[in-house]
């Protein structure tokens, strides 16, 4: 594809030779002739100077174009990068229809142009919407509803009564609707299972990562709101409500009945306690542990979570604790000497 056509497609300002043929999008370190690359992270400024790419997508006018490399200027370079990848990638066209080795209950309704792969199991009364693609080994329980244009990758488990919107992507091995972890202690110290017949709702445009688990509750619902993106190996417990356009990074865990606000960002391995409220636009840095509700807009870190600024300062002191301890001992010795001196006079 000619670079000038790509520029048109992306709505980017072209600087340099628009006639160059672009075959693929590459990372800044690996790019060679015929490649389009992109830089938005200033960490890669020096790599940009060395790049052998034919063209690069750059934010605004901050970074200079390297010599001999055409430039596409974009106010949203990461978006433009993604669209360029989409433009230049050939993808496997799904085969519409139900594979002969799938098992679909007669009462299930599957759109004619949906694609159902081998070894898919679809339960009684389930519905699968138009153009939705179901990969191999997906298990769809009774009465599950899946909207249009979804992509459900291999080995996903969708348990009974789960509701999935449109344009939802579930990566391989994700489990939606397993029983929440609810057990009541009997007087003899053993536990009795609390049944978990509540529903799980995954709204439109949500993506859920590989081997992530979203549990169903005893009562009410677990809900992931429109546009939220959930990475791999995340635990969303029973009765949790995740806000619109929230980002939950890998290995985050959210305990039961907690509300996560809209546009919240939880970095990797963050843990959130149950029955609390994380306000809109909160950010928690990696490995943060959040035991109590957090006001909207806060940026928190550490365990227990405190404002990120305080945590950064306290962490900087933490590693010097042995020095501080020694400083205190020194002060005590000096002070004792002074006290003796004064007492003697």
């Amino acid at each position: 594809v000619k670079l000038s056509e790509i520029a048109d497609h992306l709505g980017c300002r072209l600087e340099g030779d628009g006639e160059v043929e672009i075959g693929r999008v590459s990372g800044i370190e690996d790019a060679g002739p015929g490649d389009l690359t992109f830089v938005s992270n200033p960490r890669y400024a020096s790599a940009l100077r060395r790049t052998r790419a034919s063209a690069v997508i750059l934010a605004g006018d901050a970074l200079p174009a390297p010599p001999g490399c055409a430039t596409l200027r974009s106010p949203t370079p990461y978006l433009s990068f993604g669209r360029a990848v989409r433009l230049l990638t050939r993808t496997d066209a799904p085969v519409p229809g139900i594979h002969r080795l799938a098992d679909v209950e007669v009462s299930a309704r599957v759109a004619a142009d949906a694609s159902v792969a081998a070894f898919v199991s679809v339960g009684r009364g389930a519905t699968i919407g138009a153009r939705t693609v179901i990969g191999p080994h997906v298990s769809i329980g009774p009465r599950v509803s899946i909207g249009e244009d979804c992509v459900i990758h291999s080995h996903v488990s969708i348990r009974e009564d789960v509701v999935i919107g449109s344009r939802v992507v579930l990566q391989d091995g994700a489990v939606v609707g397993a029983d929440g972890f609810g057990f009541a202690r009997r007087p003899d110290g053993t536990y009795e299972k609390i049944p978990q017949p509540g529903v799980v709702v995954i709204e439109d445009d949500v993506e859920i990562g590989a081997n992530t688990t979203v549990d169903r509750p005893a009562v009410g619902e677990t809900r992931i709101r429109a546009g939220a993106k959930v990475d791999n190996l995340v635990q969303v417990a029973h009765g949790v409500n995740v806000g619109s356009n929230a980002l939950l990074c890998a290995q985050v865990g959210i305990a039961g009945s907690t509300r996560i606000g809209n546009r919240v960002v939880l970095a990797g391995q963050v843990g959130v306690a149950g029955h609390i409220d994380i306000g809109d636009d909160v950010t928690a840095t990696a490995q943060t542990g959040i035991p109590n509700s957090v006001e909207q807009g806060a940026v928190v870190s550490g365990y227990p979570a405190i404002p990120n600024r305080d945590w950064l300062r306290a962490s900087a002191v933490f590693k010097r604790l042995p020095e501080l301890k020694k400083a205190i001992a020194d002060l005590e010795a000096r002070l004792a000497r002074l006290e003796q001196q004064l007492a003697r006079r």
Copy 2:
């Protein structure tokens, strides 16, 4: 169902109108007319005052019944709640027999009233007990033994020779009996796999969460004792022994050969080192890291884990470390002034 019948069934004391028809159990925030709800966490006392539920299960006499809402008094309200959910929930009756698209080796023995779903693979010499329900895509290895009244949800992997008791529940995607992480370093710095032919035993009444992994050891066994409950995405390494009625919350990780006592509670994302002993009735709060053995009954927090009381106090000081550092610097300056003053006299 009439409330008075529910009261009888649960053995609760009824206060108010026993004739009201109850259709479902709901969360305190969502409950409306015809709903039964429950409160045990005092966090929800104000929600209780506002509830539109027809009836509520309450602990003892601590909380007042809201006006116009009948009350079921229970010494164990969470247990009563669970039993009410069970009473009012219709569940899918499993279909006894082996699905035509299951693959069961001829030498396997499957109870006549067990239910084996589509795409289940059952290996040579495996046995499946009475009334056990095997969901779609479950893989059961050679010589596996599964007891009576178990529920094995979709996509569970049960590897060769694993022994599973009765009334065990395995949530979707759990893996029982994968090889432990055992590698010996060769003199050239590469690793050689230590074979892991040991067994895994899951005793009666255990529940294991979605996508949790329980590894088999090289020698001896990995064992989860009767009544223990394990949440999602937990790692139980080779040779670990989890005590009776222990609770392992989501994303807990336990390294090899460690013993977890009876009734231990490990909250979310706790990590436990290998080759140590966690005494009976120990509790570890969320994200605790336990590098050494812990005495029975202890409550521990932090990494490295210390008594919870000490950790709470130390954490409260942690965020004030920059102040402490400044206070020490101030003290040093003031002390230096005094020392000079005294030296001058």
Copy 3:
């Protein structure tokens, strides 16, 4: 098997009765007559004195042989232990050929002596090498290449275009090649998916644990180099490069585009930020959080990660923070008294 034959096979020096028949390898606590056991961890020295094993593998000459127990002396006792386990364990011979209930696209090439189990799905143009064993319910995408002598356990997902070397072991439920977590924020605050068509390469002699996830990138590749061993429930994000003979323990998470050096050891639940470089031979202790690049050979701990020695010292002081705070307050009071005293003169 006679102990003397085992000694020959392992190349160990035999002390004691070589005629004793050994039936199995056991853990030091459980071993009885006819068992071979092993001790390298000095924690188990007292168990060694009590053992009822017929023979024990010991390192060098450090530990004395218990009375009545023959000894195999090995410079690498854990390696010798593993080889003894292999020698004495009967394993299930895989059945060569394609199971009648597998679904293999006609354009896929499967070696004649490979073994493909029930409910395996093999996509267009995939290749499976000699003697490779594919367990039940494995999903192999289009154009995937798998080398020789691999073992792919049940429920593994291998997505399109993934390249897997020889002698690779993938434990049950592992997901290789799911889409990386890449989303660009649109001006309206919603996210747009960045397509992730890049490749994943798993080199020779790698092992990947149960339910671990290795993501594919938008551009370039995710690569796990020869001989690296990855435990269960690990997250390897898009574009990560894991070095040769690295060890990633359970529940480790590595964010996007990070490079992990050769022979790096990340203990359980360690988290590593994106776009950084962990030098060769780095070790991070359990639960460490690494926000920045680490020089080769460093041993780091804590979050944010600092040198392990500093962290051990600082952690020892941490639990005494309330005392330090009190000591500072005491110093302030004493100093104020002195200052008053001097001012009065």
